[in-house]
């Protein structure tokens, strides 16, 4: 893989407002009732000793993407030799192996027309040098997008200077959505 795109989300600023979710729905014309991204709230402790974290979650565009490996037709593929995982509707049989293969459950969704649909990291915007819709609309500016193998990029800088985590690294999928904590 030549280019590794990453999303870095600052949970200390995220308020869980869901703007990213709506922005994705409109930008990508996601069919009614379906979601390519969502918000998770995690609260730990006991009143009044509490900690709450909000996470905007979506496809992790894993460096080791099991959904791509499991796809029998090559419909699930990496966009232009990057880690961005796309599904080619014209190659997809709707066998759903990719859905079963995703340890992050539901990063892939069934389009009503029968093919598998998913977060694309808004590659149609990325190729014009724009941030994905979710990142570009976030009112708290807690979301960042960029190239991880460019040490000067904002995402690289953030991961160098801040503590972070990824979701379930134990799956071995090497996710590329990072959460600053």
């Amino acid at each position: 893989m030549t280019v590794q795109y990453a999303m870095v989300i600052d949970t200390r600023l995220c308020i869980g407002c869901g703007d990213c979710v709506v922005a994705c729905k409109t930008e990508n014309k996601v069919p009614a009732g379906l979601n390519r991204d969502w918000i998770v709230e995690a609260t730990s402790g006991k009143y009044p000793e509490l900690h709450t974290e909000f996470r905007s979650e979506r496809c992790n565009h894993c460096s080791h993407a099991t959904c791509v490996a499991m796809c029998p037709t090559g419909a699930s593929h990496n966009w232009r030799n990057t880690n961005i995982v796309l599904v080619d509707a014209n190659k997809c049989t709707g066998c759903k192996a990719c859905i079963a293969a995703c340890p992050y459950d539901a990063r892939l969704i069934m389009h009503p027309d029968g093919y598998v649909d998913k977060c694309t990291f808004c590659h149609h915007r990325v190729e014009h040098g724009l941030d994905p819709a979710c990142v570009s609309t976030c009112p708290t500016r807690c979301m960042h997008f960029g190239i991880l193998n460019d040490p000067g990029s904002k995402v690289s800088q953030l991961l160098k200077s801040r503590r972070y985590k990824t979701l379930m690294p134990g799956t071995g999928n090497q996710p590329n959505v990072y959460y600053l904590i």
Binding site: G16, G18, V21, K25, T26, K29, V30, P31, A32, G33, L34, N35, W38, I39, V40, E41, A42, T43, S44, G45, K46, F54, T66, A69, M70, C71, P72, T73, G74, A75, A89, N90, K91, C92, T93, G94, C95, K96, A97, I99, A100, A101, C102, P103, Y104, D105, A106, L108, I109, M110, P112, D113, G114, Y115, L167, M168, G170, T171, G172
Partner: protein
């Protein structure tokens, strides 16, 4: 306490609230796939032991069932596809990391193998049909050729069928995202179960008592092996990671699959036929002679059904939802044609 929940509701079809991508179509497909593998193996083994006149049905007539059963399975597999017009895409690519891609190509080998198997035993197995074929010169040539290489065909058929049988299990076990499936033992289990169901089928179809008895003995052996493999699978889960332990809970919880697994699969699908078939060897009984193999077949299906359904429910993460996701149905209902 840790409260971790989705604060924006999600109701993606077949995914929320529980993963439910595959249902009976896939279970039936896997069942018929295993059965096909068993049929081919037993037909080939019998063909290799020509001297053993006891298994004349298996040697000569059984192979015809393979493409029929397999086609039934392929039909349900096709029914499961959501984007049916694009089914040809399985054959415009080979993806070595994808068991399903392997499966698609294995099936492409299985079909010609079974056809050759049928042709090589058509004359003794189905003399009436063979009579028609023999009237055409090219047909006669084909039957001559295939019966001459009957042995070689059988030798190729066995590994192909074993690959098919194992594939039906590996298809599921390759998903590390589904902890219940994620064990290589599933390949062995589905192969053994496939052989067992095929044996049961022969018991039902074969006419000669001696052949039936041969398969009863064979099936008893296979059921015993299957029980051992199931035990290994359970031990594997019980000694596994947190996700595996959670998956095991589904088999021990009455709200989960405990009843289906222990009573229906282990009890009625394996133990009862084991007892019935033992008894059959000692003392024959008309009804019980049918009951044993029928339970084996049902048990074979149940194994796939439980595995397919339960496996999808096991996951690495499990978010609860703040809102009732079913309310999203209102949007789906009213905004079908708009974003």
């Amino acid at each position: 306490m840790l409260e971790e929940l989705l604060v924006t509701p999600r109701f993606n079809p077949k995914v929320d609230p529980l993963l439910g991508i595959w249902t009976w179509e896939i279970s039936v497909y896997l069942f018929f796939g295993g059965l096909t593998a068993g049929i081919i193996v037993f037909a080939a083994l019998a063909a290799l032991n020509k001297k053993d006149a006891v298994r004349s049905f298996s040697a000569n007539s059984l192979a015809l069932w393979a493409p029929i059963v397999l086609s039934l399975g392929m039909t349900t597999l096709f029914l499961d596809l959501e984007h049916k017009l694009f089914v040809f895409r399985f054959y415009t690519a080979f993806v070595p990391t994808s068991p399903m891609s392997w499966g698609a190509w294995i099936l492409m080998i299985i079909y010609p193998v079974t056809i050759l198997q049928i042709l090589s035993t058509l004359r003794p197995g189905y003399p009436l049909i063979a009579g028609f074929v023999d009237r055409i010169s090219i047909g006669r040539w084909v039957l001559d050729l295939t019966s001459r290489y009957q042995r070689e065909i059988a030798i190729v058929a066995i590994p192909s069928a074993v690959a098919l049988g194992i594939y039906t299990g590996i298809l599921l076990s390759a998903f590390n995202a589904r902890p219940f499936w994620n064990s290589g033992l599933l390949g062995v289990l589905f192969l053994v179960s496939g052989l067992s169901t095929a044996a049961a089928m022969v018991i039902l179809l074969a006419k000669e008592k001696a052949e039936k008895h041969w398969y009863v003995r064979m099936d008893i052996g296979l059921i015993l092996v299957e029980l051992v493999v199931v035990a290994l699978l359970l031990i594997n889960l019980a000694t596994g990671s947190e996700q595996h332990l959670k998956a095991l809970e589904y088999l021990t919880s009455l709200n989960g699959y405990a009843l289906a697994f222990w009573v229906f699969f282990i009890g009625l699908g394996l133990m009862v036929p084991l007892v019935v078939e033992f008894r059959e060897l000692v003392k024959e009984h008309r009804v019980l002679a049918l009951l044993g193999p029928i339970l084996v077949l049902l048990g074979g299906y149940l194994l796939r059904h439980i595995t397919v359904n339960l496996g999808q429910e096991t996951a690495w993460q499990d978010y609860r939802m703040e809102h009732n996701p079913q309310l999203l149905e209102r949007v789906k209902l009213n905004y079908k044609t708009e974003n």
